[in-house]
Subunit: 362 residues, 3 copies
């Protein structure tokens, strides 16, 4: 069950009709913020076109409400947090964590049925997750599961956030595309073989995996200082996307000749997993959250920091390309074409289209 | 009668068809500028979507013309003032104060019937007023009358101007709403009781008055230094709106127990009247002009200055809220609702809608 | 013949359908850049709404390609120049100077028929010219011919470039209008008589000439230091526009009484020719290129520099007016009218409309 505070109004549903954009899958969890960024103040975000306000209650629970007073649509985030109650900055209307109006101080009576939408919310893996669809379908067990998250032998980066001015599927395409690193990340992730070794595509109910083993490659600059063996490597790129827009990129570097089977890893194999979470702001903007875990140096803060800085640098390289792709594809005057490398993302886009259509026909 | 210069072309009407926005009441006076800001140079303004140019003639009269040369629509305000004549900066076409073209120097003959629109204009209460509708209906006696304007016992602020990026009716709503001060102006105009004492609504042919007496209130921070008695007060808020968008806010502070009847004021009662004039720039922007008069300290320039600064500070608090309301109401994805405090402004909006519809059906 | 490199793919045509704006004449040469600004790097420009990338090959020839990789429309100008080949910065697709894809490194096979549009290109008079229409109609002999360009007795300015936020025909109108100098260029090109001496209009298949002789005028400030005689002058303004948007402005200043016949010039007559070339960026923006030639002081770099600076200053005066005209004419709420001075440009606009319509009906 999602973290629905029990000490306030129970009703999540509302009789208010909402006009929603049709381009997003809504019955799923999206990240709204890093948990560490939400405290005892009002924070405004836009997710899937919805303006929301986030705050942490006195008991530590996070609340996510529609960020618009029902009266004149002033963002509640421009008001005040009074205890666990949000007060509008225009006429003092107060809303509890369920979105119910609990005070309309300019008059004797609270108008009936006044509420703002309250979104089911959960915290996991250091993030605040929000269920953007029907509240009664919210199920915390559907949040993406990270195996072995607390393994003390693994290092972890602090992670980062980046707003990118493009449709979120250009980002998921990119994170399902092991090839682009050869050109976009020439000085960090690229190495001989990144370009052209054939890709394997696997699909499931949840999404798509694009992967390949590259044999006898030199180590790319970003990973070289971390790997615990000498000489060339076999390298696995294992890029997974899951609905609605979660991308897990696994990289394995193992001594030459020991690659080929991720279940039987050499003792010196270096593994890194990048967890990437895209939250659409709207159809033209995306908030990108990420962090990385790796099977070495759990206590070396310097390594974690350098990895984090390197990721931010590389993702800014992606940002520059993806924003130009968004503009180019939106304004193209001639047709575009798919390459072989697009097979995985094309499959994923069809899968997502189907899920969105199914959700809307409910 | 409006100040129509008699030493130039008599015709205000023109055969040119204009395309006007349908959302404004046009047959009335709007403020274009402070009189003190119009001199012997060309000043551009936009009012009700019309671009106009203002200047003062040698005899002191103010002229307001359409700010577009009929040839290529270069703003006349980019040209020169030659005596009482405006010269276009592109090809030297000259227009007199009636808008008639009096010289077309690139050719022998002035093309027939060439003119720009000339707007009836008047000066009163320190402002330049412009009649935005049919010129032959312009009547200077219809300018809002301020009783006892020259009373030497009353102080007066210099006044101010603020451009607000919102529809002008969000501003008139706000100035007809005594309640918002409790939240928007917490540190200046608010005091206990501002929030919830019931409002009285009176209507007339000209507009609406929302008012109330608040008994036994502490003095709000903005007024406390001015009042000439000790202890708590009875407070009257008397908020009037008149067509098209003039708001007069009267405040009375009188010793506890002496309030209740504005006609029978205690000798130590403090009165302030805020005069507020909204000129729509277009449907999304408003120029807000104001000044204040008060029944004390007519010769204390320091008090006048501090009051003026306080008003500017408070009106910037309004600006921040009203611009967010304009965006919120324009982009709302769920319905909005009225509160009891909106009864006055709802009545006024209906009255104005009727007047606009009547004007357009003429 | 246009400078089509023979060492690469021969095909200029393509099966890709392009969506082009209908407002430009396409089967003609437009300037894309100064030759001196194109070297061994990728330069992005927008012409007639098309995004193009320019570069110079190792043999010195200039290549102009569509600036969008066919895969995801990333501008090729964000990629790299490898020898004479352009590499896309996303997945390394490579295109030769004909626009043909010659490498798709993420896969074994180049997808068939993949190409970007290649534009016929030529260099002349210090400019890179691009044929924006059907490649097979490109003919270098159609580039505007400048007589006696290399005459060593004539001085020449370095020339300049200015982006103007207006439709290109407001610029050609302006350059076909000898009258505006009296108001727009009051301190440089204007002199008594500039305003009202009648204009002569001549038309040809290529365009329109507006001209006049002004008798016994004082010398305008811009030209006075250059002229080699004392006293007043006769002045010729000879303004020519040629399709699509080339304007040649000839000025002659000759001792009083010796003017009237440009074929029989006085030995002390001063002549200046301004060559002006407009390339539409799109319907709302224009790139303006120009240089000047004059029959004196071929070796005086100081004079050339001062003339160039004066031209830039004057053309910025035009820019300010033309951008306001563009806005004024696009948003006019009342009708506009033509003056006598518009006869030439009106004729030219009709001629151009006819040519565009003829081209589109092909």
């Amino acid at each position: 069950m999602a973290n629905i505070p029990t000490n306030c109004h129970p009703a999540y549903t509302t009789h208010v009709k909402y006009r929603f954009s049709q381009v997003f899958l809504r019955n799923c969890w999206y990240i709204a913020a890093w948990s560490r960024d939400i405290g005892r103040n009002l924070v405004a975000r836009t997710m899937l076109g919805d303006n929301v306000v986030l705050y942490r209650q006195r008991d530590g629970g996070v609340v996510v409400l529609e960020d618009a007073c029902p009266h004149r649509k002033l963002p509640l985030s421009m008001g005040r947090l009074l205890g666990d109650i949000v007060e509008c900055g225009y006429h003092g209307m107060q809303f509890d964590c369920s979105g119910a109006c609990v005070l309309a101080p300019t008059q004797k009576r609270i108008p009936p049925n006044v509420r703002v939408r309250s979104y089911p919310v959960a915290e996991k893996w250091g993030f605040v997750w929000v269920w953007m669809g029907e509240s009664d379908q919210a199920d915390e067990s559907k949040i993406y599961e990270i195996d072995d998250f607390d393994n003390p032998d693994w290092g972890m980066t602090e992670g980062g956030t980046l707003d990118i001015d493009c449709h979120y599927l250009w980002v998921t395409d990119n994170l399902l595309d092991p090839s682009h690193v050869a050109w976009v990340h020439r000085s960090s992730f690229a190495a001989p073989g990144t370009a052209d070794v054939p890709l394997k595509i696997d699909t499931s109910d949840h999404g798509v995996v694009v992967s390949r083993w590259i044999s006898n490659q030199t180590l790319p600059a970003y990973y070289a200082p971390l790997v615990k063996f000498e000489g060339n490597c076999d390298r696995m790129q294992h890029y997974e996307v899951r609905m609605p827009s979660i991308c897990i990129n696994r990289s394995i570097f193992t001594p030459v000749g020991t690659g080929g089977d991720p279940e039987q890893l050499h003792e010196k194999a270096y593994m890194m997993v990048s967890y990437n979470f895209m939250t659409p702001i709207d159809e033209n903007r995306t908030t990108y959250y990420w962090f990385q875990r790796y099977n070495t140096d759990p206590d070396d803060a310097g390594i974690a920091m350098r990895l984090n800085e390197g990721a931010m640098m590389a993702f800014n390289e992606d940002r520059e390309v993806l924003e130009a792709v968004h503009i180019g594809m939106n304004n193209k005057i001639s047709s575009s074409l798919n390459l072989g490398l697009d097979a995985g993302s094309s499959h994923y886009r069809r899968m997502l289209d189907k899920a969105i259509a199914a959700e809307q026909s409910q």
